[in-house]
């Protein structure tokens, strides 16, 4: 049973090795002649101004928080789906109540304007 998971570690190591080799190949064979102009951040040809890492819109955090909230629910739904047939009507009704609560939360966030981009 647990043995089924071991190949996943094997492919993780193989995949990491392939990716690392690809990057190292480029570092090994590529020329390396840095100049200050080349190292400047690309800003469509004009002289860069200000810091590259500036403040960003709070909306991105809002989306991230909403995502975590709803993604946990989705994972919950997925596990119920695998056993829905055995759980029968009782399981279906329980899940229906849960999904209605979830949808109410979704509509609330919607009406509050959390999903608007302007």
């Amino acid at each position: 049973m647990l043995q089924d998971y071991l190949p996943l570690f094997v492919i993780l190591v193989v995949g990491f090795a392939v990716a690392l080799i690809a990057v190292l190949l480029g570092m090994l064979f590529g020329p390396r002649r840095p100049t200050p102009r080349k190292a400047a951040p690309y800003e469509s040809g004009i002289v860069p101004y200000g810091p590259g890492r500036r403040r960003m819109s709070i909306r991105f955090y809002l989306v991230a928080v909403l995502f975590i909230l709803f993604d946990v629910e989705v994972v919950f739904v997925i596990f119920w789906a695998a056993a829905a047939r055995q759980l029968g009507w009782l399981g279906f009704l329980a899940m229906l109540v849960f999904l209605i609560v979830l949808e109410v939360a979704h509509v609330y966030a919607w009406k509050k304007g959390a999903l608007e981009w302007d």
């Binding site: 071991l6 996943l8 990057v23 951040p41 989705v74 997925i78 608007e116």
Partner: protein, 334 residues
């Protein structure tokens, strides 16, 4: 556990990773040729017969390119970000079966790396990780375009991951299992795309957004963001981002084919198990063709519309589809 089993895993892992890498190389050529035909051009046909050596030429060129690291970049993250991006795309197909079992030299070989009973959960988990590489690439570059592109890409990918997760619920309900092998076996007589057209559509659209393909290729909008999160990357590091995108396309097509189009199932696959990988390959090729066709046909959709489509249309639709499917499944099977 014996040593033979361990080496079997290593060989299968190597085959999967190298097949995906080769698949990436030829997916780029496939895309360029198909788009060229749609735009009434010929496309790359000089390197080798039919341009078949073009990916090799591209790869050699990229290896010998100078790699720039911008001043003020976070050196460690800048180096790690391409690897973190490409790694999930290489390992995500580990749970997708290529076929049933075959006998080679008296040894029964299963034509899949492993069939864990939470295969779908593994796919969702690994798909989430690829977001990290992109946001780290945008952050580490110390470039305004890259940062904005990385953030946009992250917001887009996590928004569509909800719809993606909900589109899995339909096939899981019908098969009653999270294992991809069980889901494929449940489609022996009827593909799930017939029973779950809404989930199939949701999966198709959400997966396009997930792999940042047209018309959802917002993070790479060249006019506004000059290529987005990989603006500062060059040489092989850039190639890894490119590789991640195309391997994710292949992975998404493999997973979609397994969930909705019967995976490796096809005529006579019971008697000739070697036909399994062939059928899967054909389905992936058709799926990729549709993705390329969409890119050649549709304009990019605006960012606010993109987010609204994900949150206001696809997410509720996914919930509705899950409820209706569950109702029917319980009604028939309960």
């Amino acid at each position: 556990m014996d040593a033979g089993l361990f080496w079997e895993w290593v060989i299968k892992s190597l085959i999967i990773v190298l097949m995906l890498t080769a698949g990436f190389a030829y997916a780029t050529l496939y895309e360029r040729r198909v788009i060229a035909r749609i735009q009434v051009r010929i496309g790359p046909n000089r390197a080798g017969p039919f341009g078949l050596l073009q990916p090799v030429a591209d790869g050699i060129k990229l290896i010998f390119k100078e790699e720039l690291t911008p001043a003020g970049a976070d050196k460690v993250l800048f180096f790690l970000a391409p690897i973190i991006t490409v790694l999930p795309s290489l390992v995500i197909t580990a749970v997708v079966p290529w076929g049933d079992t075959v006998v080679i030299g008296g040894r029964v070989i299963r034509l899949y790396l492993t069939d864990i009973n939470v295969g779908i959960l593994y796919i969702l988990a690994v798909a989430s990780i690829s977001v990290y590489g992109i946001v780290l690439a945008g952050w580490a570059s110390n470039n305004k375009y890259a940062l904005l592109g990385g953030l946009r890409s992250t917001a887009q990918m996590i928004s569509y991951e909800l719809a993606l997760g909900l589109s899995f619920v339909g096939p899981i309900l019908l098969a009653g299992s999270l294992s991809l092998m069980d889901i494929i076996n449940a489609q022996k007589h009827l593909w799930f795309v017939v029973l779950q057209p809404a989930a199939f559509l949701l999966y198709f659209l959400a997966s396009l957004a997930e792999v940042n393909r047209a018309p959802f290729d917002m993070p790479e909008a060249e006019q506004e963001l000059t290529a987005g999160y990989h603006a500062e990357y060059s040489g092989m590091k850039f190639a890894l981002f490119f590789m991640a995108e195309y391997i994710k396309m292949i992975a998404v097509a493999m997973i979609g084919a397994s969930l909705f189009l019967g995976g490796f199932m096809g005529p006579f696959v019971d008697r000739f198990p070697w036909l399994g990988p062939v059928y899967l390959f054909l389905k992936v090729a058709v799926w990729l063709f549709v993705m390329i066709w969409l890119r050649a046909t549709l304009p990019r959709i605006r960012y606010d519309r993109l987010m609204q489509l994900g949150w206001k249309v696809m997410f509720p639709l996914g919930l509705l589809n899950a409820v209706v499917t569950a109702f029917v499944v319980v009604l028939v099977g309960g």
